[in-house]
Every structure is written in structure tokens, then in C-alpha cells.
Subunit: 571 residues, 2 copies
């Protein structure tokens, strides 16, 4: 047995409370090393050396590792436990806090999970289970009200540069709410809409006002109602890492320097008296002074912002900009504030890397899942990894998270900060189709960046922020139909939204995985190669391709054309 492969800590994601008296316990072992993994446990106040044993199930595998997990019930969650790992030859090793042993270590040194507190249990947002997210960059979605257009508004669909304005607004979104509803969207995410000088509005002037070019507070109320009437939800963008240059507090500091009562709202550097210097977002972006959220007054102000738009406008949560550069204690406090008003509000962090520190259950409910995007690009767009390497990355991500949070991750293929998926695929719609098949049939929330569904293209910012195409003749209707179909399939097959995920086949560029729900089962086959592929896989039962409605029969396997897929319901 590869002893260095054994890994467990009594912390998320390897140990955590599921309910008052139930814990989930997981262990990682080297791939293929272990035939049976067993958890030995007892109440930590049980005086005898008797332990109860429970077999652990393999939850997933990568090339390097297998993961085994089990739920276990014990009074008040007060757990004492160790692991028994048996290899194919029947040789056993034992793991506890002290190390690895050849005989069961029944006395001291067991792992302990001391207590499960209700307060510390992560409460999943059950409404996310069948969610479909749609991201809108308001200036570019639809110009519904020409009377609020900024000066120098360009004609719709014109050339985009960093400073272009196109007049998109809240009215435009309201006008297309049924388009989104018909598409199957359930959660709309708007990039910032508060008063700001730029088209993207990530440099906020006033956190308590809607930007006049986007509309009024009444417009927002109408939009939220329009969403809620249709069973849809909506989140806004909380840009709390930095303000805009014209934010009242920063203006005060600019005018009054050290004498400003807001000087500690920012990170002002007075080393050089001649230069007004301060920390900013990214590389000295002077228009975005960094906010000091460790300062209690600043914190109070932004918690008020977070509460205000939920209390007064009934929005359904926040997407948190540059979330990972903001101090953790602020997010923990914001979570408490927000959930006190609206318990099922969602908090989505913008974290472009793995960001697991924000996903311990006391900060965010979800992240924009950029590592998911990167894995999909490597496999589907660039084709520079095989299916095993692809699935390794998906599993690695999954096994790093609370189970409930894994199924709430926003699985995006692009956003306003990246090249469009179609452009990354060099315009190859087939690649986009395969990538979206995976996106809509795997664990996590599928995420559409406005226009992707009709074939909008564009490289990095600002080309990924082109105007939405509403003219049907200019839309890729085949692609739109594909999105609609995938959404419908996901909605009508619970296995796809909440079933277990298991890899059935990974060879060269071919991949098959199963989603297993309580009452249904779906098998997905993807041949992501330029050659046809024979899936050496036997599947029986009544098999229906949910995408083509055809019946499917395996003959000691199934052949798929190049760049094709099957989404098969197993009855």
C-alpha cells in the first residue's frame, strides 16, 4: 500500500456535520490500493475500547487517488474514529491521528470530531438544484429605454471598445424576461447596476443608487417582480473590494487628506507627501481605490448596502466581486447579515482559482467556477488533455468541496472577464455543443453568459462584451435549440440535477459518466475526438437518447461518431 497516499483531516472536506447527529467522513487513498475501507467509530465519551465499524463507499477516483466516504451517526456528533484499509491481498493498515499502524489502535490517538453545532451546519440552497444561471452585462443586453441613453451612445451592435456605451438598461431586460423564462433560465445575474462612470460600473460612485443610464429604482423593482412572478431569481453584483474614484468617501479623502473622517476607509499611503498614493484594485487602477473592510465603520456601511437591496428590492442574493481579496471576517459577517433577512439568498464569490477557503460553509454558497472552465477549455476547446486528465480535474475540484456546495457551483464556460467559449473554440460550434453537454449534465449549476446561446463570439475584454444579437437571422438557431434541449433534459431528469456522479469510461478523448438519482439514471457518452470511438461498455435496460428521442442498444459497446454525444436515460 502506498502509505503516502493516505490522507485525512478532521476538517472540511474530509469531516463535517450533515445534521445534528450525523457526520460525513471521507478518506483519500492511492488509486487502486484499497479493496475495503472501513470506519471504526464511537461516541467520544464511550469509555470502552469498543468501536462500531461501518464500510465506506468509494465516492470517486482520479488517476492518483480513490476517495472513500460514509455518513455516520453519533450522539451530538461527538465522534472518535479511525480507519481500516485493506488491500487486495487482505493486508490491513490503520490510520488515526498518531499515524499508520499494522494493528487496530483502539486506545489513544483516534481522530476526533468533538461536537456538531447546528450553527455550524451548512444549509444547502435547495432551490439551486434545478437552477440555470444567465449572466447579463446590462449595457450590452438590450436598450429598452432610449430616453436614459448616455451621451455618445453607439448604435446597437457597433464596434466595442473599452469605453463604449450602447444604452442597454433594466427596461431592456424586463422586455426580454419571457425570452429568458422560455429559455429555461431560473437565476439572472446582473453585473453592476449602481451609479458609476464606466460602462461596466465596477467603479461605483454611489452604492445606494441605480445608474441613471440603466434606469430607476422602480425599474429594478419591476424587474425583480417580473422575475419572481415567473419563479425566477435575480442577484446583483456587490463590488466591495474597491469603490470608484468618485465614491463620496474617497472624494472626501481626496479633498481633506489625513483630516478626512474617511481616511481609514481606504489604504492611503502617505510615505511620499508630494504624491497622493493609495492601494487600488489590481495594478494601480487609480479609478478603483481599495476599500479597507477591516475598519468597523466601512464594514458597517457595506453591510448596510448588502442589506438594503435585499430588504427594499427583494433581490435574491449577491455575486461578490474580487471576493478573494476581501478579508474573510467581512464575508462571514455579511453572510450572517444577509441570511438573517433572507435565509435562502445566495452568496456567490468571484474567485478565479480554487478558493476553497471561502467555501467552508460560513462564507459563500458558491463560486464562479473558473477551474471548471479551465478544465473544459483544455479538454473541449484546445483538446490538449485526454478524458482521464479532464475527469481528474473535475473530481479533484469536487472532492475539495462540501458535497452541497459542489452541486451549487456556478459552472461557467465564459464570462465578461474571459474570451467567449465560441471564440476559444475558434468558432467551432461542435466543440461548444460538446462542452455544453458536459456543462448541463454534470454536477453544479449550468451558467450561460448572455448571447452564448445564440452564438455570440468575442475574444478577451472588451470583445467578449459585444451587444446581444436579437435579430433571429443573425442568431445561431441550431445552437439556441441545443441549449433549450439541454435545459429541458436537465429539468426533466432529476438524476442530472441531484444524482450521484460516477465515471464509467475514460479513454483517449472519449468519456462516459452516469448520474444516478433516487428514481432515475442517465448515462452520458461524449466522443471528443476527430475519429469515431467505440465505447467498450455494456449497458442493458430500456435505453432512450433524451436528445434525439431514439432508442439506443449496446452491442458489447456502442460506437459514436467523432465529436458526438449521447444522453441516455436508463429505465
Amino acid at each position: 500500500m502506498n502509505l503516502q497516499g493516505l490522507f485525512h483531516i478532521s476538517e472540511i472536506p474530509y469531516a463535517y456535520g450533515v445534521d445534528d447527529e450525523t457526520l460525513f467522513i471521507k478518506i483519500r487513498v492511492a488509486a487502486g490500493d484499497v479493496k475495503n475501507a472501513t470506519l471504526y467509530y464511537k461516541d467520544r465519551y464511550e469509555p470502552s475500547d469498543e468501536f462500531t465499524s461501518i464500510p465506506m463507499q468509494k465516492t470517486s477516483s482520479t488517476s492518483l487517488f480513490d476517495f472513500y466516504g460514509t455518513n455516520v451517526r453519533v450522539k451530538e456528533g461527538r465522534l472518535r474514529y479511525f480507519f481500516e484499509l485493506e488491500d487486495a491481498e487482505g493486508k490491513k493498515v490503520y490510520l488515526n491521528e498518531k499515524g499508520i499502524f499494522e494493528t487496530a489502535p483502539r486506545s489513544t490517538g483516534q481522530f476526533q470530531y468533538p461536537y456538531v453545532h447546528k450553527e455550524e451546519l451548512y444549509k444547502p440552497l435547495l432551490w439551486t438544484r434545478d437552477a440555470i444561471v444567465y449572466q447579463i452585462f446590462p449595457d450590452r443586453f438590450c436598450n429598452g429605454d432610449r430616453s436614459n441613453d448616455p451621451q455618445k451612445t453607439k448604435y446597437w451592435g457597433g464596434q466595442v471598445d473599452s469605453n463604449s456605451f450602447f444604452g442597454g438598461d433594466i427596461r431592456g431586460i424586463i422586455n426580454h424576461i419571457d425570452y429568458l423564462n422560455d429559455l429555461g433560465v431560473t437565476l439572472i445575474y446582473l453585473t453592476p447596476i449602481f451609479e458609476s462612470t464606466s460602462n461596466h460600473k465596477y467603479n461605483t460612485t454611489n452604492y445606494f443608487e441605480i445608474d441613471e443610464h440603466f434606469g430607476s429604482k422602480d425599474d429594478l423593482k419591476e424587474l425583480v417582480s417580473a422575475c419572481h412572478d415567473r419563479g425566477m431569481r435575480i442577484v446583483l453584483d456587490a463590488v466591495f473590494n474597491h469603490s470608484g474614484y468618485d465614491f463620496f468617501a474617497f472624494e472626501d479623502v481626496r479633498q481633506n487628506g489625513d483630516n478626512s473622517q474617511y481616511v481609514n476607509w481606504f489604504y492611503i499611503n502617505n510615505d511620499d507627501e508630494k504624491v497622493f498614493n493609495y492601494r487600488t484594485f489590481a495594478n494601480d487602477i487609480r479609478d478603483m481605490p481599495k476599500l479597507n473592510l477591516s475598519n468597523p465603520e466601512t464594514r458597517k456601511y457595506f453591510l448596510k448596502v448588502a442589506q438594503y437591496w435585499i430588504e427594499e428590492f427583494d433581490i435574491d442574493g449577491w455575486r461578490l466581486d474580487v471576493a478573494d481579496e476581501v478579508v474573510h471576517s467581512f464575508w462571514k459577517e455579511m453572510r450572517t447579515c444577509v441570511k438573517a433577512i433572507k435565509e435562502d439568498a445566495i452568496l456567490i464569490g468571484e474567485v478565479m482559482h480554487e478558493g476553497k477557503l471561502f467555501l467552508k460553509g460560513d462564507e459563500f454558497d458558491s463560486l464562479m467556477n473558473y477551474p471548471f472552465r479551465e478544465a473544459c477549455l483544455d479538454f473541449f476547446a484546445y483538446g490538449n488533455i485526454d478524458s482521464q486528465a479532464f475527469i481528474d480535474r473535475i473530481i479533484l475540484r469536487k472532492e475539495g468541496l462540501l458535497k452541497d456546495i459542489n452541486s451549487q457551483m456556478l459552472n461557467l464556460l465564459d464570462s465578461h472577464d474571459t474570451s467567449r467559449i465560441l471564440s476559444v473554440c475558434d468558432g467551432d460550434v461542435n466543440k461548444v455543443m460538446l462542452a455544453t453537454v458536459f456543462q448541463f449534465t454534470t454536477e453544479g449549476i449550468p451558467y450561460i453568459y448572455y448571447g452564448d446561446e445564440v452564438g455570440l463570439s468575442g475574444g478577451g475584454d472588451p470583445q467578449c462584451r459585444k451587444c446581444m444579437v436579437w435579430n433571429q437571422e443573425d442568431q445561431n438557431l441550431a445552437l439556441l435549440n441545443h441549449y433549450k434541449k439541454l435545459i429541458a433534459i436537465r429539468k426533466h431528469n432529476r438524476a442530472l440535477t441531484s444524482g450521484d456522479f460516477s465515471v464509467e469510461y475514460a479513454k483517449d478523448k472519449a468519456l462516459a459518466y452516469k448520474r444516478s438519482g433516487d428514481d432515475d439514471e442517465v448515462l452520458v457518452l461524449i466522443n471528443n475526438s476527430s475519429q469515431k470511438h467505440f465505447f467498450d461498455l455494456e449497458v442493458t435496460g430500456e435505453l432512450i437518447d433524451l436528445y434525439s428521442d431514439e432508442q439506443v442498444t449496446f452491442h458489447n459497446g456502442l460506437e459514436l461518431d467523432s465529436m458526438s454525444f449521447r444522453i441516455i436515460a436508463i429505465k
Copy 2:
């Protein structure tokens, strides 16, 4: 290379801020696999794919793993990084968030440490560096005032049972403060002294009063002053997991049931109307009803307790009883409260297992280090592990912690909750001497449970709570002298309090390790076997045994008698 041995997360203890712009980054690899470990890093907003490289140092090793670490400076702590690991044959692998690669992954997927916030930096308690802790169980230390003795007080030194009272009190501690000072103690820890019906007082009746049998608030003030006058510190025991049965709030609940305004201060279970049922500490210990510290009112009350004794009596921190069964958010808030009043106050958790979740820098400064005790018992008392297995456990513990917290751990060999070290060693003083040599020369704070220094014996509770022996004829003066010597050696050799720790030799039951300070170096040799042992180790320079004051010379090694040690200063 054993790829399953590679491990890194962008979290404590593998990545954390050391100061504003400095991070400590660590990686774990399989033992002996890696010749060179290199960190490649850049500011995370550096647009180019150019990384700076910095060699990592091996920080420690176990049988299974080597650990490599380095500090790295980058603006605002905004780090993007990956690892290069080179084996003896020059073959290299690279590790980043995405996985393991054979070529340097310069574009996407790097590990990221997004930002270092001052607020999140752990502030070490520098005064702990040369601390020696002495734990006192007040009823058993010294009866300094007979006028406050409880009824049925037994004669000093009489037979101990669970309900005995011996009349020990605060006056008794004051009377022996110079004894403790002469011994070299710098931090006194008193088990509970607040009003309570028991001799141990872990069932508190009134958190704002000193138990009358222990003395008055004036006595406590005098004791704190006596400590501070001598440069000593003192901490009290915060029993916040549960109250006593007679605590006013619980009394109110007992009388008024569901109508009590304090009903949510506890976990009352009304499932069976005929029985008054509630959660307690451990196995239904009815005298210790569990407190609900998730309830804001209860929380407020106990934060006031925590503040009161610091503000009014100037105590230097708290030892936190049953700390791991209390909700994390309470400890985080208590930390903020306490540190706001007294920044260098110490918070010491009673956690009997590894308890790393409480040591992320935002809860406790230290734990009662029971895993240290268990390793020492296995090696020194029971002799059931060899020196390599022993050191594996010491290193495993160390590498799981922030560096600053590792050096603040309370390294105990026993306490009021365990058998005395002398009794665990079956009365063999030589074994105690070897164990204490390790205790006083390794990283962390040496900890004396009252009376250990004079040879007090006793098995589990209540026998480990015998009366202190003050009659010199009944004290083991050789052992006392040994403790004094070890304390003096530790105090006069900075390498022992703050130098690096490195294992130089581990074979059979023999162990040698070095402590390397900025200006001094100490080599410790321990032969923990019943045979003499030849340490196959070459050491040059002027070598003085700090314990015997003899000069030491290595002749291609050094032979040590059975059960003996050397503490050698290398000049």
C-alpha cells in the same frame, strides 16, 4: 517520484501570511524523493508568464514525508505560484492547482494566495518564548488560610477521593509565589476558582465571584500583583462549555421550565414531559448542563465574564475548558474581545486531540498539547515505540501548525485529568528525567503540573490530585534539582526557546536533535534504552555539557549509558 506524496493547499499550515507582504509557503513530498524543491512565484497581477524562482529549504522529515518551505515576498501578499520538484536523477515534476505536470505550467492553474490582510496575520505572543507553565489545582496546593476551609476539610496529605476537600486556597499560592519564582515558573495556570460546590469547581455556580473557600477578590488581586511584581503571568480557567447545576440561569430554568427567560441558554429537551432533560457535559453529568453559546444573550454574558476578570483583576489570559465542544464562532468573538483589552493575553484551549481547527490564528494561541504527552508516554514511559516513530509524531504535530503557534503549545506530560507522569513511568524517576529533558529542550512551552517537580505520584483522577508535598524530607530533591537545572539551561540558551529544531540521529531508542538559534546551538542526545548506545555522529567544536558542565569530545561518535542524556552547547 511518489506522486501521491505531493501535497499542498493554499491554507494554513501550507500557506499563510507572515507579515503584510511576506508569505510562508510549504510543500510536503514523499521522504527522500526530492533533491531540490523550488517555488516559482509572481504577483498575481503580473501579466507576463515570467515567474521568479526561489529554492525551498527542508524544514523537517518523518519516515514517510519531507517538508520543504520558504518565505516569499510579494506586493500586498498577492501571490501566484507553482512548485518544481527535482529528484536525484534530475527528473522534474511540477505541481499547481490543476495537478502534476512534466513541464512547467506557466499560464493558467497556478496556486493563488489572493491577499494578505493585516487583520488575518497571527500575532505571536513573544513573551511565551521563554515561558515555563505551572498548573495548580488550588484545593491541593497549599492551605494558606484555615479560616476559609470548607466543612469536613481533610488533613493535608490525607487520602484523596472524588469529594475530598483539603482547604487549599489563593493565600496558599501567594505564600509560595517565591517558590514558583525560584523554580523558574513564568506562567501560572489555576484550575477554576469561581464559586462552585465541588473541589475541582468545574461546575460553576457564579462566574463573577471567587469561591469563598479559595478566598476573596482581594486575595486574587494580591496574587496577580505578586505574579506581576516578579515578572510572572497568571491565567484562570474559563469553563464556558457548561455551567454548574446551581448557576442562576439554570436554576431559573429548573424552576420555570419553558417560561424561563433563560431556557435558550441551555439545550433543554422537552420530548418527555415527565422528565426534565437537558444536554450535559460528557455522559449525562447532570451537574454540568451544557451552555448554548450560539444564543446571543448567553454569548454576551460569557464574553462579559471573559472581559471582567482581565479588566478588573488584570489576569493574563484564559485556559478554555472543553474548548472543542464550544462553537467556533464564540471563540473567535471571545478572542476579539479579550485581545481588545489586553493584546498579549493568551488563550489556551483544552483540546485533548490534535485540534488544529482551533489553531488557524483566529481562535486560540495555544493548546494543552495532549498529543505531545501521548507521544512522550509511548516513547519514554511505555517504551513501545522507537525514536523514529516518536520523532515522526512530534514532527507530524509540528508541521500541522503555524510556526508561531507550534512554539507556543503547552507541552505537558500530565495534568489534573491524567495519571501523573511518575506513576505512568511506574515510579521510575530516570524515565521522568529523560522525558523532561525532551520536554525542556524541544519546541513549545514546558509545563509542570504542581508537584511533579518534587516527585508527586498518582494514577487517574482523583489520585492525580493529591496534596502538594511541602515537607522537604518527603520531596524528591534530586528530581527538583533536575527540574531547576533544566529550566535554567532553557532560560540561558536562546537556541532552546527559539532556535530551529532538527533531528540529527534516530536509531532504536536513541535520539539526537539540534536546536539552532541565531547565536547559539545546542545538541541534545537521549539514550532511552536499557543498554548503552553509541551515537554514530561526528560533532566538532568546543562542546560543553550544560547539565554537568563537563567538556564533551566526540570520537567518531559518542557513547551514552543506558537511560542517560547529554545537553551539549556547541561553541
